[in-house]
């Protein structure tokens, strides 16, 4: 295993007046797939947002490949190699599918010039090719989720953050997404942090997990060493 790609040191964050994350310490090694689990409202989304920088950290440090990201604006972090698939997907509604993917290239920063959206994205998600000229906003939830992942991959990230990728997705598309992600992770040597409620799904897919409770990480481990049913307690009441 390679050295830690993502490292969080004493990270805290919150919204006006309320603190949501408390001193999070977390290390994710290169090419790990980390499942971040926890009940509703424990701060999973907030943690991802703080890592990409669309939410400000109130304390602590975020390191990517040893480089301090904490003070950087989100576009700089994206260019440093953080890809983000948010909860709710956030597709650019009036850009076509092709343009959404193009926008994803921005994460290549100055290297964007002359770049094209890599073909493997359409291989991973053939559906996107079919609807490439439709406006992103007109896609259904499942189509949008595929597009959001494709867009993040277009930026050639080192680290991919996925927030509930199966939420509202029909079962056979969930399968497809899983296949695509596995494939991408392998081919592109991606490191992935995935927030998920659907434990069966992540357990098939992730090699490590971290469980959150009340804004803190309370348990970490390898998925191979604990059963999904053992950690289910962190997800259900």
């Amino acid at each position: 295993m390679s050295a830690d790609l993502l490292e969080l040191r004493g990270l805290s964050s919150g919204y006006e007046g309320s603190r949501v994350l408390w001193d999070i310490d977390l290390a994710v090694a290169g090419q790990d797939i980390l499942a971040l689990i926890g009940r509703n409202g424990v701060g999973k989304t907030t943690l991802l947002k703080t890592i990409v920088g669309v939410q400000a950290a109130s304390g602590g440090q975020i390191l990517l490949g040893g480089q301090d990201m904490t003070a950087l604006p989100s576009h700089r972090r994206a260019r440093a190699g953080i890809g983000y698939v948010p909860q709710g997907r956030h597709i650019f509604p009036h850009l076509s599918v092709a343009e959404n993917l193009d926008a994803g290239l921005s994460a290549c920063g100055t290297r964007t010039r002359g770049r094209r959206v890599p073909d493997y994205i359409f291989d991973l998600f053939p559906k996107l090719h079919e609807v490439r000229d439709r406006k992103g906003g007109f896609l259904s939830g499942g189509e949008q989720q595929q597009l959001a992942i494709g867009r993040a991959l277009a930026g050639a990230p080192r680290l991919l953050l996925l927030d509930e990728p199966t939420e509202g997705i029909q079962p056979n598309v969930v399968d497809q997404i899983e296949q695509a992600l596995r494939h991408a992770a392998r081919e592109l040597s991606l490191t992935i942090v995935v927030v998920e409620q659907y434990l069966e799904f992540v357990w098939r897919f992730a090699n490590r997990f971290a469980a959150m409770r009340d804004g803190r990480i309370v348990k970490e481990g390898k998925t191979s060493e604990s059963k999904a049913s053992d950690v289910a307690a962190f997800v259900s009441i």
């Binding site: 409202g41 939830g141 939420e167 509202g168 079962p171």
Partner: protein
């Protein structure tokens, strides 16, 4: 198993610049019935809700509620007739407390000239408390709605829909973002509703659908595909091929 006909969706077509999100789709719902609608992403489930509630105008077809044609009525006129819908993304008033959210929804008289007073009548107050209890937010009642967690927001919105007293409730993916325990609670909640109201539930979570134990309508590409019990639908090869796949 249930009362007289409440809702009839009669051959509606919704056309987005040539793309038919709904294509001569029809269904009926009886008083007191709970119905689950499933179907692939993009099948037109949310659009169906939009059409019933008056957010989109069908290019053809009608929506009849208690025999009255709803086509062309404004949203609030439709709400007044007793239909309320929960959106896929939680729709709550972030700036006021959970209780105030429910109280607003619980107001029976929603005209502006009735608003020149403080507080709400005692019987409405009681129903607000009952609703908060029912969706499990009694102890979160004084928290600003915007500060609730995602799942709590979903419940709050279900609570608001209930509080409107609507006879027909449309729930578009009510368990989105919920864990298994919350999902079960939600299912329980919806089953309780069954005695008094008609409910249309849209969801992808098949275990949740199972817990609802209600007839299922399957949509595909804007059209009606199948209808039947959960078991029947799960076993249907056509449904498996377009929707369920083999993992579910």
């Amino acid at each position: 198993m249930s009362g007289p006909l409440l809702l009839a969706v009669d051959g509606i077509t919704v056309d987005f610049d040539g793309f038919k999100a709904l294509d001569t789709f029809s269904m009926t719902l009886d008083k007191g019935e709970t119905r689950v609608v499933i179907g692939p992403n993009g099948a037109g489930k949310s659009t169906l809700c939009d059409a019933i509630i008056g957010r989109v105008r069908p290019a053809a077809g009608r929506v009849l509620f208690r025999g009255e044609d709803l086509t062309g009525l404004s949203e609030q006129a439709i709400v007044e007739r007793g239909i309320c819908r929960k959106f896929q993304a939680p729709g709550i008033l972030a700036g006021i407390t959970a209780r105030e959210n429910v109280a607003l929804a619980a107001r029976r008289d929603r005209s502006w000239w009735q608003a020149f007073g403080k507080g709400i009548p005692a019987e409405e107050q009681a129903s607000v408390d009952a609703v908060l209890e029912r969706v499990g937010l009694a102890d979160r009642a004084e928290v600003k709605a915007g500060e609730l967690a995602h799942g709590e927001k979903q419940w709050l919105e279900i609570g608001m829909v209930l509080a409107t007293g609507a006879e027909l409730v449309l729930l578009d993916e009510p368990t989105a973002g919920m864990g298994p325990a919350e999902t079960s609670r939600t299912a329980e909640l919806i089953r309780d509703l069954g005695d008094t109201r008609s409910v249309i539930v849209i969801d992808h979570d098949m275990s949740f659908v199972e817990q609802l134990a209600a007839p299922v309508t399957v949509m595909h590409q804007g059209r009606f595909l199948k209808q039947g019990s959960v078991e029947a639908v799960r076993a249907d090869p056509e449904v498996i091929s377009v929707y369920l796949g083999h993992s579910a």
